[in-house]
Amino acid sequence: MKPQDILFLLILLTILWKRNPIYAVIVALLCLIISMPLFQLWVFYTAERLVMYGAGFLLLAMVLFYFEKKDK
């Protein structure tokens, strides 16, 4: 497991603990924003990983929105 993956899991667990879907969306979009200059600089591995993490956080956000609705 790479350091990026560990960081991803830590942030994921933090957001799960907070249970706020907006945080997940913010982190997801930040991942996409940060990946853009990395693609431009040909730092492909990290850039691709960031896009995957972004998608993961988006999925988490949707799940949290779903449970938020159910609770309401």
Binding site: P21, I22, V25, A28, L29, L32, I33, S35, M36, P37, F39, Q40, F44, A47, E48, V51, M52, G54, A55, L58, L59, A61, M62, F65, Y66, K69, K70
Partner: protein
């Protein structure tokens, strides 16, 4: 004030419409200018033999030019055959006009109206619905599909928002609505007629929406089952009835169409090969071959395209305090986009083995050796999410508090030149900037003007005036402007011999057995084409005169071939004594035949002896039978390739050769037509 607002809205609407139409005229200009539209997947048609109004279980022009069982592909033909026959055969319009009226203009109209309809039906209060067609019609996926000439897929893509919109209406209805349900069935039937793969994808999207209705806390199992029946069950039954013309023969004839195509279509290796898009491409709605659209040539990731998912998924910021319905729609389309992006990357990371598992195990998934079809879901999703985001940001900017004394207060005081309008302009400019190769005319295929070379017009006249049946063998392969009819099918040498190296191809022909094989196949001419489009004689993906010249010399070196004619760079070589469509080696036998249709021929036999073999030079299929005086003789393989019939008796008599699956096609056509008439009748009745 109200008056001004109304006028402002009208001005905005008219301006937006004019800008949108201008963009269509600029990007698709070759469709509105004189000239031929052709591409890799969009051939030039000299005649309409391929698109008959009647449906036949056998197609003479397919199967590498030797005919094939055509039922598994029949679903695609009614929707093309009807307009082509109307414009081309009935009205006698040339192909240049017929192709535009059948494919290109309907695509533009359908994609625009369909995507606008979906957005308007979901968010009727959002005024910038024109953003939906802007994203749906001007993204790299559909520009590459239309540029490459895959117009049937493009038409199917264009209909998807409308299909999804109708089904969402049905699924969201509090009470079952039979009118909407039947309409949904009819639209889905048309969706499947356009392209069965896109129909499969949209059915998946419909099922996903039905599942998402479970989010509603009031949905019980009973209500869900009722929704399932009205929103999916009944429409699917209607689709099956409408498609009976090819489903019935498929069930009763039981030929494995996918298997017959070979492992290139059905193996895991094919999926691995065709998985060109990476996850960052698919989530950014960036086609991996953009903009050159050359098969296999994948470009580097263009990071500016990541602004699309940024805009799309930013919509999730705005749903917290919205109505249940609005939240449901945004969450559904966000999930749809994410799933579409995941599937469109095929076997690539992350979790590429999931796609391979689906390919091997899920019924119907074997149709998706090319995963890019799943971009349809991403385009659908972003055409809803991005306008939603833009509208919400627009409204937030509108109510932004700026003190009147501030030097920036002008950005609120102006009715037109204000920050929110500037934001709309910025986003529109960004979306147009992303597709700049299309604006400046860098795209190829259908998005570029072409003219038919005079050489091919001369060749067409030369071949057309020759009576009788014969085939032409194109070496190394058939060119875009190749002339082909039911009487003179064209064959690609590469496909026939399954050799793609030019030396190996010509070596294959350099023996006496090859001459006999081609004679028995009814091939009268070997043609080396003029590569006017630069697609055949390539070196490093570019046309090479050297490659053409060296190949021509290799063909000329075939000892038993003689060059008989040339039309500029088109070289024609004659083969002596090619056989007819029906022939026999029995010297006593005299054969004549008449073609009734691709599935029926009448034979007149003179001087026959029992067991004389009649060869029918179409691909072998045991469903061909010869019938005479009550006896039916099933076809036997001739040299593992063609059909043959041992004659049942001596003498002179007539016989009929026909393809038995046609019986099921005829029954299926009756079922489909009755179903269609009934559906339309019921819809009219309910409408009243």
């Amino acid at each position: 004030m109200q008056c001004f607002n109304k006028m402002n809205n009208k001005v905005v609407k008219i301006t937006s419409a004019l800008l949108f139409i201008s963009l269509i005229l600029i990007v698709f200009r070759s469709w509105f200018l004189p000239g031929i539209i052709i591409a890799v997947d969009f051939d030039y048609l000299w005649n309409y033999d391929f698109f008959t109004l009647n449906m036949y279980a056998w197609n003479t022009l397919s199967g590498k030019g030797f005919g094939t069982y055509f039922v598994p592909y029949m679903w695609a033909y009614p929707i093309q055959s009807i307009p082509i026959n109307f414009w081309g055969v009935f009205l006698g319009l040339p192909w240049e006009v017929v192709q535009r009226l059948t494919f290109f203009y309907p695509f533009l109209i359908l994609a625009t109206i369909s995507s606008g309809y979906l957005f308007k039906s979901l968010f009727p209060d959002i005024k910038i619905f024109y953003f939906a067609p802007l994203i749906f019609l001007f993204n790299t996926y559909i520009l590459n599909v239309t540029g490459g000439g895959q117009m049937i897929i493009a038409m199917a893509y264009a209909l998807t928002p409308f299909t999804l919109g109708i089904f969402m209406k049905v699924a969201s209805s509090e009470k079952p609505n039979l009118y909407l349900t039947i309409l949904a069935g009819l639209i889905l039937g048309i969706q499947f007629l356009l392209d069965i793969r896109i129909g499969y994808i949209i059915t998946f999207a419909i099922c996903l929406f039905l599942l998402s209705t479970l989010i509603h806390v009031k949905t019980t199992v009973g209500i869900f089952v009722k929704k399932l029946i009205f929103a999916l069950g009944i429409p699917l039954v209607l689709v099956l009835l409408l498609h009976a013309f090819w489903l019935l023969p498929s069930i009763f004839v039981q030929q494995n169409a996918i298997g017959a195509l070979g492992s290139i279509y059905s193996s895991k290796e094919a999926v691995l090969f065709f998985s060109f898009a990476k996850f960052e491409n698919s989530i950014a709605l960036l086609h991996p071959n953009w903009p050159e659209n050359v098969f296999g040539k994948v470009s580097f990731m263009r990071p500016e395209f990541l602004l699309l998912p940024l805009l799309a998924f930013a919509s999730l910021f705005f749903i917290s305090k919205r109505s249940y319905r609005e939240r449901q729609y945004i969450l559904y389309f966000a999930l749809l986009g994410l799933i579409g992006a995941f599937l469109a990357k095929g076997a690539n990371d992350p979790f590429g083995h999931v796609y391979l598992y689906l390919f091997d195990n899920v019924p119907g998934f074997v149709m998706f050796r090319d995963p890019t079809k799943w971009y349809t879901l991403v385009a659908l999703s972003y055409s809803i999410l991005i306008p939603y985001t833009v509208w919400n940001v627009y409204n937030r900017l509108k109510v932004l508090r700026i003190p009147p004394s501030s030097k920036f207060s002008f950005i609120h005081q102006s009715k037109i030149f204000n920050i929110q309008n500037f934001f709309i302009l910025l986003i529109s400019s960004l979306l147009i900037f992303l597709i700049r190769p299309a604006i400046v005319g860098e795209l190829n295929g259908t998005l570029r003007q072409h003219t038919v070379p005079n050489e091919y017009i001369s060749l067409q006249k030369f071949l057309e005036q020759q009576p009788g049946f014969f085939r032409t063998l194109w070496m190394p392969t058939i060119q875009k402007y190749a002339y082909a009819t039911n009487q003179h099918p064209a064959i690609s040498a590469q496909d026939l011999f399954e050799k793609y190296d030019q030396k190996a191809l010509t070596a294959n022909l350099n023996n006496q057995n090859a001459e006999k094989m081609l004679q028995e196949s009814g091939i009268k001419y070997i043609i080396v084409p003029y590569d006017s489009e630069g697609e055949i004689f390539l070196q490093d993906r570019r046309y090479s005169e050297e490659v053409y010249t060296s190949f021509l010399e290799m063909v000329r070196s075939i000892t038993w071939l003689s060059e008989s004619k040339d039309f500029g760079k088109i070289k024609v070589f004659s083969i002596e004594n090619p056989k007819e469509h029906f022939w026999s080696n029995a010297e006593n036998l005299s054969l004549s035949y008449k073609r009734i249709s691709p599935v029926e021929y009448e034979l007149a036999v003179k001087g026959a002896k029992k067991e004389d073999l009649v060869v029918f030079s179409e691909n072998f299929d045991s469903n061909w039978v010869l019938e005479t005086n009550g006896s039916q003789i099933q076809s036997k393989a001739y040299k593992d390739t063609f059909n043959s019939f041992p004659l049942p008796k001596d003498g002179n008599y007539s016989a009929k050769v026909f393809y038995t699956p046609q019986v099921w096609v005829n029954i299926g056509i009756i079922v489909s037509v009755i179903s269609l008439i009934s559906i339309i009748g019921v819809l009219i009745y309910f409408r009243k």
